[in-house]
């Protein structure tokens, strides 16, 4: 193998699994250390800079970082990264003085944003400090988009949402609420320099089954029903509720139902329990509230008697997987199952809808009626129009929308300055030794063996009574500290300097997880089999040095390195050093 090029920032970035997995690439270990140090405000600002909504995300994020956490590979449960973010948000001081200054004198460029969800708000936050004049249009009465309409208050209190939305709306942004934009052409005719479309995936999918027409009065689309509850148009539901679907919206629907009158609430899903799209913790939360999940049940019919919904019938199926892992749901042949219901919520997916975008604006649409959007620049085929969030590539999640927003803002800024949107600024990267003494590091290199701490919850009796009572209480500061100590500091990189190495084997002998080997070089596949411990996780790189005096190379398998620093402590010549790698994605107006 060729020597690893550690000057390429993507190499060490990949070692910080959580940050790499985060769509916005938030420097996770950096803020976790700040939380451990009790520096909550700074921890919050590291987050705010990168993901814009730390308090919201600390409660609602899909957490792509957590399955990626190295802890999963050496212990079992990942660090509770998401809930630590909330610790920073809950304990921070007033941050208004730390927010970027908004220039009084504008730069003369006007940007319109359609939709006031996380993607648009991110674009606004990045562009307002640069002097852009920003107009936001949204059909709801306040900003936040789906964070306001679809995430129930028992998961995300309105006060938290308002606070973080308002940081942005207070940046001199002109927001027009309660307005439905029916024509993109009209917006473009207002001579904006650029338009950002962040209208989400607002249309819920339905199931057209026999009986639906007669049952209509008691069948709702999940996301519409959730927003109707959020905006207090709907205050109750029947005693017996069936929720169709296995995603997070289904979980929100069933849990909301429990709070507005549903007593016998059940989730019915076609797939096996393990294949459900809902996050494991959301399924657990539903179970905690006494909501059963019936899996392997395919809905067949709405049963209506005397013009009123009685319930639904389901066909029991079994999931069969072929050699390639493709699933088919095969009926078991058992009798159809009938379940009684007063109301049915359909939460089987949502999709994009652009009836308001005229097709003669130079914006190309594909065969699925989705706009053709560049995956890196978020520019459509009309160079003035940018898309982001769910409206760009279909339903994802908040953190993805934020990531899109940052990149779209970079593009809009480049575009308005007459530069190429392809000319992306490189990330900000620093790599600095953490050595404080012969055997001392500026980070806590001891590896805590504690198992993941559980976030305390308010008593069930209280939370089920009122849909606005937040279920999770968040970690207190002491537990937050202990959970933060579980972080392995994967950004403290093991940096190897072959010129200094005397090949004494001290690092090999001390490494608790047998990551380091000194072997003759070879092709990667063959080399992986010859290391001190099997390097079978192909998703994790091998760090290979240049040739050493004995014509061997140092090979480090990054997979289960604990970043404990013992290799560097036991190295007599400081050929190993622990260096903190800080990687920040460049934002609009930054030159990398």
């Amino acid at each position: 193998m060729k020597p690893t090029d550690i000057k390429n920032p993507e190499y060490f970035h990949k070692v910080v699994d959580c940050q790499h997995a985060c769509p916005a690439h938030t420097p996770v270990p950096e803020y976790i250390r700040l939380i451990a140090a009790g520096r909550y405000t700074e921890a919050y600002m590291v987050n705010w800079h990168s993901n814009v909504f730390p308090g919201i995300l600390g409660r609602t994020c899909d957490r792509p970082c957590e399955p990626a956490c190295r802890r999963v590979r050496v212990e079992e449960e990942p660090v509770a990264i998401c809930r630590l973010k909330r610790v920073a948000a809950d304990n921070k001081e007033n941050i208004t003085a730390l927010l970027p200054a908004i220039p009084k004198k504008k730069n003369g460029k006007r940007i319109a944003m359609i939709g006031a969800g996380p993607a648009s708000l991110t674009v606004a936050r990045d562009l307002a400090p640069l002097g852009y004049s920003i107009d936001i249009y949204d059909n709801q009465f306040a900003g936040g988009g789906m964070m306001r309409s679809q995430i129930p208050s028992f998961r995300l209190p309105v006060s938290v949402l308002d606070e973080e939305v308002n940081y942005i709306l207070s940046m001199g942004v002109a927001a027009t609420f309660d307005v439905q934009v029916d024509s993109l052409k009209e917006i473009l005719n207002k001579d904006y320099d650029a338009v950002f479309v962040g209208t989400g995936a607002p249309r819920g999918k339905g199931l057209n089954l026999p009986g639906l027409e007669d049952a209509m009065d008691n069948v709702y689309l999940g996301i519409d029903w959730l927003s109707s509850v959020a905006f207090e148009h709907t205050e109750s539901i029947g005693r017996r509720v069936i929720v169709l679907g296995g995603g997070n919206t289904a979980m929100d629907c069933c849990r909301t139902s429990r709070r507005v009158g549903g007593e016998d609430v059940r989730v019915v899903v076609r797939s096996p329990f393990e294949d459900m799209k809902a996050s494991p913790w959301e399924k657990a939360d539903a179970a905690h509230e006494g909501i059963p999940i019936y899996n392997n049940h395919v809905p067949k019919e709405f049963v209506v008697e005397e013009g009123k919904l009685k319930g639904m019938t389901f066909e029991k199926v079994e999931a069969i997987y072929d050699d390639e892992g493709a699933r088919s749901l095969v009926p078991t042949g058992e009798d159809l199952v009938f379940m009684e219901a007063d109301d049915v919520l359909m939460a089987i997916g949502q999709e994009n809808a652009f009836p308001w975008v005229e097709r003669d604006l130079g914006i190309e649409f594909d065969k699925w009626e989705m706009p053709v959007v560049n995956k890196e620049t978020f520019q459509s085929t009309n160079e003035k129009v940018f898309f982001g969030g769910d409206s760009a590539f279909g339903p994802e999640n908040i953190i993805t929308a934020v990531a899109h927003g940052h990149q779209a803002a970079v593009s809009i800024d480049l575009f308005c300055r007459g530069e190429s949107v392809q000319d992306r600024p490189p990330p900000h990267v620093t790599l600095a030794s953490q050595k404080m003494g012969v055997h001392e590091w500026s980070y806590d290199n001891a590896v805590a063996v504690d198992e993941r701490y559980i976030v305390p919850m308010a008593p069930l009796a209280e939370t089920l009574k009122d849909r606005k009572v937040e279920v999770e209480l968040g970690f207190d500061a002491a537990t937050g500290y202990k959970e933060a100590e579980r972080c392995l500091n994967c950004d403290a990189q093991t940096v190897f300097d072959e010129v200094r190495c005397i090949e004494c084997d001290a690092c090999v002998d001390i490494c608790p997880t047998d990551c380091i080997s000194f072997v003759s070089n070879g092709e990667e596949e063959e080399l992986r089999a010859r290391l001190a411990a099997p390097a079978n996780n192909l998703a994790q790189d091998l760090y290979v040095s240049a040739d050493l005096p004995t014509m061997r190379v140092m090979v480090k398998d990054e997979d289960v390195c604990l970043h404990c620093g013992l290799c560097a402590e036991r190295c007599p010549t400081t050929a190993w050093d622990m260096q903190k790698f800080l990687y920040n994605v460049s934002q609009a107006g930054e030159r990398g």
Partner: protein, 350 residues
């Protein structure tokens, strides 16, 4: 400063026949200097014992005084241990071995502990062919007392702050051969590929097995004027050959070239394969071993690998016809066989 090694281990660590991982053979975190060769030797012992599937409670590790003799704390944390008086480890092993021949005795000593204060003990343990592994962590200096030249320092070699040594060096391999040791090898802490199979062979050998391991002292004796530095040893070592250790239950799969390799069946049924590199050496002939050692001393090179092995070794137990059973398992009837037996003995002496 880290005072303990993290508890987590590589999830894919191989298990040996007993179901143990290498981690089960480790000891406490080392307090030796960073880069000390002794830690690598500890690592090699851990590997050898793990790979041979030796039950940890069937091993006794014994040592004297010195950096080397601290080392047993850092390996085989689940085995028996005894830290003896300076240079007196062989006596303690002798006593322990006579009391219980079922344990594997792993003596760990240094150049000071062996070649200076313990020279007499070392010589007699070799002469008696005590069934033990005797590992010398040889760094040519007294590291624990700030690096003075030891008795194995070569003439002309200098430590970091010292003058060139004016005395001639004791060659422990040569001494052991002269004293009647039945297994003599030399290795280098920085070469586990050679050291691990040598330790395995030494463990399988029945009788006194010396491995003199050059183990650089990074703090006092790893400078350009030293003949026991990492760099010097790498440049000047010449291997007698390479050896492969084949455990008893494992089928031999490698192909061995005729004429250049020897297969030797060890006392415990395992075997070693020796690939000769040095044409002049016959490792089963003591005269050849002694003259090859002398030859290398003359040219200033360090001869490593298996230097001598007596295939017909008869250890102390065999020679003395000692009790097969450990003494602590003998009951009163065994120890006081009664008046009739005494009369028989007396009669036999008349």
């Amino acid at each position: 400063m880290s005072y303990q090694v993290p508890k987590f281990r590589h999830p894919g660590l191989p298990l040996n026949e007993l179901g143990y991982t290498k981690a089960d053979y480790e000891g406490a975190i080392s307090t030796l200097c960073a880069g000390c060769g002794h830690d690598s030797i500890s690592g090699a012992i851990v590997r050898a014992c793990h790979e041979m599937s030796i039950e940890p409670h069937k091993i006794a590790k014994l040592s004297g005084i010195g950096c080397s003799s601290k080392a047993p704390t850092y390996f085989l944390g689940n085995s028996h241990g005894f830290n003896a008086v300076h240079g007196r480890m062989p006596s303690v092993v002798t006593g322990a071995a006579l009391a219980n021949r079922e344990l594997l005795y792993m003596g760990v000593s240094g150049d000071g502990d062996t070649a200076s204060i313990g020279m007499g003990q070392f010589a007699h343990a070799a002469r008696r062919n005590l069934n033990m592994v005797y590992i010398v962590m040889n760094n040519g200096c007294y590291g624990l007392t700030k690096g003075q030249d030891s008795a194995t320092a070569d003439r002309g070699s200098a430590t970091k702050k010292g003058d060139p040594n004016i005395y001639s060096a004791i060659d422990l391999c040569g001494t052991a051969l002269q004293m009647g040791a039945t297994f003599v090898a030399r290795s280098f802490s920085g070469d586990k590929e050679q050291l691990v199979p040598l330790i395995k062979a030494a463990i399988s050998h029945r009788g006194f097995a010396l491995i003199d391991v050059v183990s650089p002292c990074v703090t006092f004796n790893n400078n350009p004027q030293s003949t026991k530095s990492y760099e010097f040893v790498r440049e000047h070592s010449e291997a007698t050959g390479t050896i492969d250790f084949v455990p008893l239950k494992k089928e031999i799969t490698a192909e061995y070239q005729a004429g250049q390799s020897y297969e030797v069946t060890m006392h415990d049924g395992s075997s070693i394969h020796l690939y000769k590199v040095d044409e002049t050496l016959d490792p089963f002939d003591r005269r050849s071993a002694i003259s090859t050692l002398e030859e290398h001393r003359y040219t200033g090179n360090i001869l490593t690998g298996l230097i001598y092995m007596n295939k017909d070794s008869r250890d102390l137990h065999e020679v003395m016809d000692t009790s097969q059973r450990p003494l602590n398992q003998l009951d009163e009837a065994d120890l006081c066989p009664g008046n009739k037996m005494l009369l028989n003995i007396n009669a036999s002496l008349r």
